[in-house]
């Protein structure tokens, strides 16, 4: 079988990281079933240049927990500054938010992010690890002046603030989704994570709804019709380019099969029926996509130094 050859070939690659040598073989085996088939084509592609395969995502449960904690800490600080709970935000938070409804919504989100940060901090500690030092944050995206600002008016323009909030909440949904697979061997961690994940999705939808109510062209879910909120060329665009995926897969007779949304399924409800392209746009909306840890880190890095 080709995959045995593949594994043998990959074994010739070296890695200097031996942190996982204590991992039981059985645990490693269980990982066989724990990744999306979507990355299979990427793996096959990597056969041509096996050295590149060394960059594949490798995660322990602790890695997954630490990444989520990083993300939650960042979001907590982002909202806390806006609310005046931490320095560095608007001079007058109440005036900044304009309406009590928006301020109340942000307070709800901040309290959840603080709860998530506390919970995941505890989980990391329970796992026998120590908490990493918090980085410094710069939500203009300039990394303390080291690069051009992406959002220079983050705490003086509410619409800019809400754009970043949307970006971070959407990225958070994607990050949790990407890390869940690495926690699948522990039911408690998995359930905790999927539950925090859907809370983040509620936040994302609310931020989007509030932006739409303020005149922005944006759905409460990720849609191709949303007006871009990330400047062209910014590395932050990765959050939305990944959401255009219209391919979902199932396993059919042992083969990975793409679900043919565009031809055979009786999806077209209502009248008039959608065109094939309009239907696929709805397919993209109907499934949120994961991002890998390295992608999530690249998003976090823009706002930290």
């Amino acid at each position: 079988m080709d995959f045995l050859h593949l594994l043998a070939r990959l074994a010739t690659l070296d890695t200097d990281n031996t942190a996982l040598t204590q991992a039981p073989r059985r645990a490693a085996l269980s990982r066989l079933g724990q990744a999306g088939t979507a990355i299979l084509p990427a793996l096959l592609t990597s056969l041509a240049t096996p050295a590149e395969a060394g960059k594949k995502d490798v995660r322990t449960r602790l890695d997954a927990l630490k990444l989520i904690l990083k993300l939650e800490n960042l979001q907590n600080v982002f909202y806390s500054r806006a609310l005046g709970l931490l320095p560095g935000g608007p001079a007058n938070p109440t005036a900044f938010f304009g309406t009590t409804a928006i301020k109340a919504a942000i307070q709800t989100m901040q309290s959840h992010q603080a709860q998530h940060a506390a919970l995941y901090g505890q989980l990391v500690t329970n796992a026998g690890s120590t908490l990493d030092a918090m980085p410094n944050y710069d939500f203009t995206g300039s990394r303390n002046g080291a690069q051009a600002s992406v959002y220079p008016d983050v705490y003086t323009n509410l619409d800019t603030f809400l754009k970043i909030a949307q970006l971070l909440e959407d990225a958070s949904v994607q990050t949790y989704k990407g890390q869940a697979a690495f926690l699948q061997s522990d039911n408690y961690l998995l359930e905790t994570t999927v539950r925090a994940h859907s809370t983040e999705a509620r936040h994302a939808a609310q931020i989007r709804t509030m932006r739409r109510q303020r005149g922005a062209t944006v759905k409460s879910w990720v849609s191709a019709t949303d007006t871009a909120i990330v400047p062209t060329g910014s590395s932050l665009n990765v959050v939305y380019t990944t959401e255009t995926n219209i391919s979902q897969y199932v396993t059919l007779n042992g083969a990975v099969t793409r679900v043919p949304f565009d031809s055979t399924l009786p999806i077209n409800v209502g009248t008039p029926a959608l065109s094939a392209s309009a239907l696929l746009a709805k397919v993209a909306e109907a499934f949120d996509e994961p991002i890998e840890a390295v992608t999530a880190e690249s998003v976090l890095q823009v706002f930290t130094y």
Partner: protein, 240 residues
Amino acid sequence: MSDNKLFGTDEAEFAKPLFVPIKRRSFFMYAGATAGATALLLAGCDDDDDDNTTTTGTVSLGSGDVGVLNYAYALEQLEAAFYAQIVATPYTGITADEKTALTAISRHEAIHRDFFKAAITAAAPTQIIGGLTPDFSKVNFSDRSSVLNTAKTFEDLGVAAYNGAGSLIKTNDYLLIAGKIVSVEARHAAYIRDLLSNGTFADSTVVDNNGLDKAMSVADVLAAAQPFIKDKINGDNVGK
């Protein structure tokens, strides 16, 4: 299908040729990327102990991962039928934003429903449940409050159902799919809740004081959904 069947008694034999020449660390690296290979192997050990025998008038969702997929398929059928009715007979006073959004949600739910139909047909063609008959007799489709409160019930229930089912899923592919869908359901829930009462998108009726959204057992979800479905649903073996 179960990983245990594959990795149980044959573990040593199976592991040997793979592991001997491979450092554990590097195996870890690539093991995660071989889901396709695993799927190929697992396909050879399809469950044949699922019991989908139905007594008259009862729909059994089955067991194992197929049971979880049928469970999701049943809930998506319910949601899709509900939103299709809203689109067909919009309530009095529906706004343009509401009509656009509810139409989009109806498409999302229909796509989810048909996705599961395709997935189960592919994975276990003899075990897929049929089309369910919804019972919306308690919903007044001309009344905004009746419609949106029912929508809120369905969306929150859907989120809690997926959150509760995550740990029942054995196959990684299906966990990822559930994750891709549940966050869209949560977005729907937040939108519908905002229509009913601003600021309730993630209130304490659904999110606890650890910031965790609700998770519900299969039994509790089915008990809540049953009044809206004419067929009697049996989910006793879902995920088992």
